[in-house]
């Protein structure tokens, strides 16, 4: 099947390769593409078209058109004409019901005409309304290109690499190579990229990436280059665009038949892979390339039935005739010619898209019939034929008798847009080319306008009795070449933060959960039991995830006074206060405790997930105010655990010499002392409502301190507890969780913490907005509630009044084993926020009664906390 060997051919006839196509073995030579090997094996139909499922064969052989897209090793939409053969590759046809030769969906081509006009999904398949789900199901099953295996894991590993180049040359043709050489002679670091997998360049002075497809040009000289498994994000000081030209098709009925080819496709088949593209050929060309193809064909032994040169004669009608989608002949101005190959050339068009993305303007050169880029922006250079230089005049007619009714006349082969579709769009009022693009999807297919942009503009010009210059082009946008989403996503990164005690939790059987990027124990298997042991005796929880900052400097007191609504300047050293951060809009951002270590030093904790944002917030205000304060984030450096329960003091006594009596270390006191031999900061606070000590110490001692506490607590029946028991305990105490009980609209006045806002302070972030809230009156308040019948509503359930609309929502709810009640917190209108008032809550599709509680359910006076 191959033509005799000759120098310059790509294939190495000594080295055989084989792959499978649809399960059948196909033999190939090294140097073949999958398409050339399939062509050699006799394959002529390579795909079925997008909408009409018409048979399609090789057209451009240059990786531009959609005609040879197949699924290769599970990756759909691979253009096999540009995909080198690999031993053992598995190649499948796609977008077909049946086989390439007999596709059941081909019926759309024969019968679907009246039902599938342009924009048909907006009009023909919408009635009757009830049938839409059926249409939708059908459309979804046939739409799209190729199928992904939903159950496949990541088959390929993709990476992103950031790179720099002084000069990046896009395109490895003559002009590109010359430019690369010239720049490297000037001592520049040059990288050249080209999409051709067979690029052979003698490049000693510069780097070549091939195949590598430049996807676009962004600001700052950013050019992402798709190199298969790696995406290079190039930053280039100078970008040289040498993307050359793209051969344009002609628009006539039957121009998509298998056997209609562009000159370069013919050239590649003959020269590169030594394949005979047909037996009898007709050539219709608007430039020299068709004539060159004709002489190559003659050399290859193909009979040339006729050559029509559109520069010399104007044709009125070209109609391709075929059977079963395969070209059998052509009728030109009444003359019938049998042929199995029709070479068409509508001239060459500069591939200016990348330049246009970068900001160049595009102008129509009416004399030569091409769009050329002008006003090339700084830092970018265009060289070679992409500038329009060296392109001979070629202005073919917009279409050749598409209205004759002798078959479909395709302007766009990717999306199966015919001349009729475009004319209909104009008739319906889509008079601008940008609207036509959106309505008909012309230029929106896989070729991204390479083959259809200029023909569609020409057609629009003729139908609107205007010219190409006034029709203009559509906006060029990245990506210029198709790219797999996997490549854009890069390597999967799911960062997980683990505390220094993580592995002990695992050994203790903890069920881990995500909180932000942290991995934390949800519980150790018995949330209610763990909560109960805190009440009954003592428990310990890892709270290393808390955000921790040291704020130090002469202005630190003033700094915190300005950031928080309550006071910190009057605090005595080694005392602790609760603080809530507000935005200037008065909204709650985060909460935590602030301990004063000495006159100029504060130890600030934040929520586990808010640490980064609070640090950023502090640093920002420090930059705005310019105060004499330094902020150090010690979140990762320090571990923290909370020992809580009536026996907590007994456990602590075994670990430290510190005076732990209620007088020596009372509620909201801080101390620095050795715990199990580790220098620690001890905070006496009680998020869970029992006597509690929060110990902060260097992370590396995490496991040691944790083990020491468990050992010391053994006699008291100490149990580690996770996040879920902690949530039960804090709810019993009615302590809020920022982000759970509050959202981006909540303020401290309405979140029932009015005591925290010291509105008599001169200023603090959020003060003025809180004053406005005060002035307008409180509307919705955060309150506690208990259910009358003990059913636990879902978090997010609605609060309703009998027979009326929803008036609020549940933010937290749990069964409290201690109280033997279903309790929770909810936002309700202010008039409902009174002790003992009742409302209804949606539970299990019905309504249940709940009673408002304003004081903590557990230890309302904080006696246990202070004991």
């Amino acid at each position: 099947m191959r033509l005799p060997a000759r120098p310059g051919e790509r294939i190495d006839r000594e080295r055989e390769v084989s792959f499978s196509f649809g399960g059948e073995r196909v033999r190939a030579f090294e140097g073949d593409t999958i398409a050339s090997a399939l062509y050699a094996s006799g394959q002529r139909v390579f795909s079925r078209s997008f909408k009409y499922h018409r048979p399609r064969g090789l057209l451009c052989c240059s990786g531009n058109c959609p005609n040879c897209m197949m699924t290769v090793d599970g990756v759909p939409n691979v253009r096999v004409c540009a995909e080198p053969v690999r031993e053992g590759a598995s190649v499948w046809r796609q977008n077909v019901w049946g086989s390439l030769e007999h596709d059941l969906l081909g019926v759309t081509d024969k019968l679907g005409g009246p039902f599938t006009p342009v924009g048909f999904y907006y009009r023909t398949m919408i009635r009757p309304r009830w049938a839409w789900p059926l249409y939708e199901k059908f459309l979804r099953s046939v739409a799209g290109l190729g199928k992904l295996n939903k159950h496949a894991t990541r088959a390929n590993r993709y990476d992103v690499e950031h790179r720099r180049a002084e000069v990046l040359v896009i395109g490895g043709g003559r002009a590109g190579i010359e430019s690369a050489r010239e720049h490297s002679r000037q001592g520049k670091r040059v990288v050249l990229v080209d999409e051709n997998p067979y690029l052979e360049i003698e490049a000693r002075d510069f780097e070549v990436i091939s195949p590598g497809r430049a996807l676009g040009i962004w600001e700052g000289g950013l050019v992402p280059v798709d190199a298969g498994r790696v995406l290079y994000r190039f930053r280039a000081e100078k970008i040289v665009v040498a993307t050359g030209t793209i051969e344009q098709p002609l628009v006539f009925p039957g121009n998509d038949l298998v056997g209609v080819m562009l000159p370069d496709g013919v050239r590649r088949l003959i020269e590169d892979w030594r394949l005979k593209p047909g037996d009898k050929a007709v050539v219709v060309t608007a430039d020299e390339t068709g004539r060159e193809a004709a002489s190559l064909l003659r050399e290859a032994g193909v009979e040339i039935a006729a050559v029509y040169d559109l520069r010399r004669e104007r044709l009125r009608e070209i109609v391709g005739r075929g059977r079963g989608g395969i070209l059998r002949g052509v009728e030109i101005d009444g003359r019938k010619l049998d042929c199995d190959l029709l070479v068409m050339s509508g001239g060459r068009q500069p591939a200016y898209s990348l330049l246009s993305q970068a900001g160049a303007r595009v102008e129509y050169d009416a004399a030569r019939g091409v769009f050329v880029p002008t006003d090339i922006p700084d830092g970018i250079e265009a060289v070679g034929t992409v500038t329009g230089d060296g392109i001979a005049a070629a202005v073919p007619a917009a279409s050749y008798n598409g209205a004759s009714g002798k078959g479909k006349c395709f302007v766009c082969v990717c999306e199966d847009v015919t001349d009729k579709d475009l004319k209909r769009a104009i008739a319906e009022g889509f008079d601008s080319i940008e609207l036509a693009k959106r309505y008909t999807t012309v230029t929106m297919g896989p070729c991204q306008g390479r083959l259809c942009h200029v023909p569609s503009i020409r057609l629009y010009a003729r139908e609107n009795e205007s010219d190409e210059a006034s029709i203009g082009t559509t906006t060029a946008r990245p990506p210029w070449a198709p790219v797999t989403l996997g490549l854009l996503a890069g390597r999967p990164h799911e960062p997980a933060q683990r505390t220094s005690i993580h592995h002990r939790h695992k050994e203790l059987g903890a069920k881990m959960m995500w909180t932000g990027t942290w991995r934390r124990p949800h519980s150790y298997g018995d949330p209610e039991g763990e909560a109960q042991s805190v009440h009954a005796s003592v428990g310990v929880i890892d709270v290393s995830t808390l955000g921790k900052m040291i704020v130090r400097g002469p202005d630190s007191a003033e700094f915190l006074e300005r950031l928080y609504p309550n006071r910190f300047g009057d605090m005595k050293p080694m005392r602790i206060r609760y603080g809530v951060l507000n935005s200037d809009a008065g909204r709650i951002m985060d909460d935590g405790t602030i301990g004063r270590l000495d006159d100029e030093t504060y130890y600030v904790t934040t929520t586990s997930t808010g640490a980064g944002a609070v640090l950023e917030w502090f640093e920002w205000w420090n930059a705005v105010w310019g105060m004499d304060v330094e902020i150090v984030d010690v979140t990762g450096g320090l571990a923290a655990v909370n020992v809580a329960g009536p026996r907590a003091r007994d456990v602590m006594r075994k670990l430290t010499d510190l005076d732990l009596s209620n007088e020596g270390l009372s509620y909201l006191d801080a101390r620095e002392a050795q715990i199990a031999g580790v220098p620690s900061l001890i905070l006496r606070i009680g998020f869970v409502g029992e006597l509690g000590y929060e110990l902060h110490f260097p992370s590396p001692y995490g496991e040691h301190v944790w083990n020491s506490i468990l050992d010391a607590g053994e006699d008291f029946g100490i149990r580690p507890f996770g996040l879920e028991p902690q949530r039960i305990l804090r709810l019993e105490k009615m302590h809020i969780l920022v982000g759970q009980d509050t959202d981006s609209e909540s303020n401290v006045l309405e979140a029932s913490m009015p005591w925290i806002a010291k509105l008599d302070k001169d200023d603090f972030v959020g003060k003025w907005s809180l004053e406005q809230v005060q002035e307008r009156g409180l509307q919705d308040l955060l309150v506690g509630f208990e259910m009358e019948d003990g059913k636990v509503p879902l978090e997010g359930a609605q609060v309703v009044l009998e027979g009326t609309q929803p008036i609020g929502r549940i933010t937290s709810s749990r069964w409290s084993p201690e109280l033997r009640k279903a309790i929770g917190m909810a936002w309700v209108p202010a008039e409902l926020a009174e002790e003992g008032k009742a409302f209804l809550v949606t539970v299990d599709g019905g309504f249940e009664r709940a009673t408002v509680r304003l004081r903590p359910f557990f230890d309302p006076d904080g006696e246990k906390l202070r004991s």
């Binding site: 600001e219 700052g220 200037d584 809009a585 950023e616 920002w620 930059a623 200023d763 907005s769």
Partner: protein, 104 residues
């Protein structure tokens, strides 16, 4: 958005390393009227042109600085760490945001 930003500490870096806190606003001095307060909190000049804005080198040195950027072209004209002397109530180049719509 793919431009480079000159971090005052680290030099030119990819914009994705930074977070932008929007245009520089002026915090009212004391007891603003409701209109002044809502203008400060909610209204931005949103210019098509050069604006002064806050940037934070989140994935780098964690410094806050101000940049002058042309919002039409993303050209960054300058970046600087604001000096303490000029910090308090640093106005944007053309003063405070003035809303066109009544802010009540």
């Amino acid at each position: 958005m793919s431009f480079l930003l000159d971090c005052p500490n680290c030099g030119p870096r990819d914009v994705n390393e930074f977070s932008c806190a929007g245009e520089v606003t002026v915090r009212p001095k004391s007891s603003p009227t409701l209109r002044e307060l809502t203008s400060y909190i909610y209204f931005r000049r949103n210019v098509a042109g050069v604006q002064r804005e806050w940037w934070y080198h989140r994935q780098g040195c964690e410094i806050w600085f101000q940049a002058e950027r042309d919002t039409r072209t993303n050209e960054v004209l300058s970046t600087e760490v604001v000096e303490p002397s000029s910090r308090a109530g640093t106005p944007g180049p053309e003063g405070v945001a003035t809303p066109d719509t009544p802010a009540v």
